[in-house]
Assembly symmetry: C2
């Protein structure tokens, strides 16, 4: 099973895209963890180290980062 | 079956993200058509009317547009 982390910050763009992405993704192939950077700011360094520049973003276990639309820059969340 | 159109323009960012997205998406729930705006410029108006601002982008049949990372602006493709 592949793993992926969907980082978001609770903004309207994030929540909407989160639902869209979770509806599209094959749950049998990919296990998606949600990382809420608005509520859990301690995960910001982890997200930045993964290459996340803005939220919402999906980090795949091969290291690729898919930035999906634009809700907020990572600097705005600190 | 839901339908979606993945617009791209053959740029390296697009091709890479196309593969990532197609690997993630549940083919039993969503049928993804590929719209190559580099090769088929006649589809540019259709993409713009769908709300595509840059490629790669995935347009869902509920009208939502997911811009995934940033390969090129739609104006750069004309």
């Amino acid at each position: 099973m592949k793993k992926a982390v969907f980082y978001h910050a609770g903004c309207p763009v994030c929540v909407s895209e989160e639902q869209e992405m979770l509806n599209l993704i094959d749950g049998n192939k990919v296990e998606v963890e949600i990382g809420h950077l608005g509520d859990v700011k301690s995960r910001l360094p982890e997200a930045e180290n993964s290459g996340v520049k803005s939220v919402p973003a999906l980090v795949l276990d091969n290291g690729h980062v898919l930035h999906i639309n634009y809700g907020a820059g990572i600097a705005d969340l600190k």
